[in-house]
């Protein structure tokens, strides 16, 4: 078991202050426009205290909790890629001058982020983005520069969305064992609101020294462990992943693709909320005089016909082919490309699909694989 301490809930303000004192730009959950999103946090009161989310396929709504939980929700429509892999992003800027065109980099000092409230599934998603954008033969410098400095405070999953989460199947949650600087488990008992804090790095330990804490007792550990076990046990959605890539690739002409394509609006919501979807397009933008030109990267969506536009034509004209590309990339070809699934089981694509298409249901129907009940 990692080294852990217990802090009172009131210490959260000190954690925030300690991060801010180290010039981190602290990003965390906050309520906006009827959803819990990630944005700059100034004070602890920016957190979604006493709020929770209810999610179903195609549905999301906020509800009041009857307690003061800081992290009493599952995941919202935002993912951390928004900050690590921002869109739009200016790759470089060119100025036309009498001496010629001068190209300059614009990303000299990217923000040093501290992420507060990273769910284990989202921590796994960052790990997946690392493999794609930082750890391969080609490195995206803007991602690397952000990622290498980011300070991560994970929140172990005592709260989740029973009908959309499936991290247990994907092996990404509800508990993170490593990859964080600090990991909180929110312990809410009558008369006691505290966090079990696991220390994942030297940086984390250093920050923690500025908070009033006591060693974690066996009963603190037991309470925390029980919470994540309960999460795992109650997770209603599941996906059989053993043999899944092969089974999907063996069924590229399955009639179910037509079935799901008839429902899919090809809106691309799933790709925008997905914490691992990384695709982007690049275009030049210039001011009216053409004297300043920016080459800009924006998030792109494989559900558009333009995505495969090649020498005068789109290679994936049908909705069927575009949905198939997305799903087989997430659950099959990603494994060949990067050694992991491109899915962490966060369930966002299910919640935010306007017609409630469920990736687990489609993958099971197409692969023909059903999951044996493995609940603890």
């Amino acid at each position: 078991m990692p080294e852990a301490v217990v802090v009172e809930a009131s210490q959260l303000a000190n954690l925030l202050a300690a991060l801010q004192a180290r010039k981190y730009r602290v990003i965390g959950p906050t309520v906006r426009d009827g959803a819990i999103i990630y944005d700059d946090l100034t004070t602890v009161s920016d957190l979604p205290v006493g709020w929770t989310d209810e999610q179903e396929a195609g549905e999301y709504r906020l509800r009041r909790r009857d307690d003061g939980a800081y992290f009493g929700y599952a995941v919202g429509p935002y993912a951390w890629k928004r900050f690590l892999h921002p869109s739009p992003f200016t790759l470089w800027r060119a100025r036309r001058t009498p001496d010629g065109v001068i190209v300059e980099l614009t990303d000299a000092e990217p923000s040093r982020f501290a992420f507060l409230g990273v769910r284990p599934c989202d921590l796994a998603a960052i790990g997946i983005l690392d493999r794609v954008l930082r750890d391969g033969p080609y490195v995206d410098p803007s991602y690397r520069d952000r990622r290498d400095h980011v300070f991560i405070v994970t929140v172990q999953c005592a709260n989740f969305s029973p009908s959309t989460c499936f991290c247990v199947s994907m092996g990404t949650g509800p508990r993170a064992e490593n990859g964080f600087d600090l990991a909180l488990t929110e312990l809410l008992d009558p008369g006691s609101h505290r966090f079990l804090v696991e220390i994942g790095s030297e940086r984390g330990a250093e920050i923690l020294r500025e908070l009033a804490h006591r060693p974690a007792s066996a009963s603190d550990w037991e309470t925390a462990t029980r919470l994540v076990h309960k999460t795992a046990a109650r997770m209603g959605r599941q996906l059989e992943v053993r043999g899944l890539p092969e089974a999907l690739l063996a069924n590229l002409e399955h009639h179910r693709w037509d079935h799901v394509a008839a429902r899919c609006l090809t809106c691309g919501n799933c790709t925008m909320v997905c914490p691992t979807c990384f695709c982007f397009s690049v275009e030049d933008r210039s001011d009216l005089t053409g004297s300043v030109i920016e080459r800009v990267r924006t998030a792109d969506v494989c559900f558009t016909t333009a995505f495969t536009y090649t020498a005068g034509k789109s290679l994936r004209q049908s909705a069927r082919s575009r949905y198939r590309q997305w799903l087989t990339h997430k659950l099959a070809t990603w494994v060949t490309q990067f050694g992991t699934f491109g899915c962490v089981g966060c369930g966002r694509c299910i919640t935010w699909c306007p017609v409630g298409i469920d990736i687990t249901e489609e993958a099971a129907a197409i692969s023909g694989l059903t999951r044996k009940d493995e609940r603890p």
Partner: protein, 157 residues
């Protein structure tokens, strides 16, 4: 040109190479060797379809004469291939021109005698019809691909 020499041509031509020697010998009896100069016609549209040509060497253009434009080549046929199948469906007339583009050598069969031979020896008949069908399929496939205008300018977005 002796039958013997013709048989030797038939023995190496892809169209007849894998027939039995006896079958080739019977075919050779109906055949003659012909030479064509560039621009000389083997076949002309509208004339009776009275022969079958195995091209030994050279290049032959299957074409139509377009008024105001001249000969319009549609496909070319090279040594190792064959020209003409209208003779199978007698009595019939040629529907296209076949013109030598280079000095061309062909083994030419008299259609009437060939038809008679194929009816007489149905086994040989079937084997030749299979080869003709292969030829027709190949030409049709090429024509279909040409219709697609594969290398044309891409459609504007």
């Amino acid at each position: 040109m002796s039958d013997r020499e013709l048989e030797e041509f038939l023995a190496v031509h892809p169209f007849t190479a894998d027939l039995d020697e006896s079958q080739r010998a019977r075919l050779a009896k109906q055949a003659r060797l012909a030479h064509y100069q560039p621009d000389e016609y083997l076949i002309q549209e509208g004339r009776p379809a009275d022969a079958f040509y195995l091209i030994v060497q050279g290049l032959v253009s299957i074409e139509l004469f377009v008024p105001g434009h001249g000969p319009r080549p549609l496909q070319t046929v090279e040594g190792g291939s064959a020209v003409g199948w209208s003779w199978m469906l007698a009595p019939s007339r040629w529907e296209f021109d076949a013109r030598a583009l280079e000095r061309t050598t062909a083994v030419v069969f008299d259609a009437e005698r060939l038809r008679a031979l194929l009816l007489e020896d149905c086994c040989l008949g079937l084997r030749l019809v299979q080869r003709l069908l292969f030829l027709v399929t190949e030409r049709l496939r090429a024509a279909r691909l040409q219709l697609l205008d594969l290398y044309g300018p891409p459609r504007e977005r």
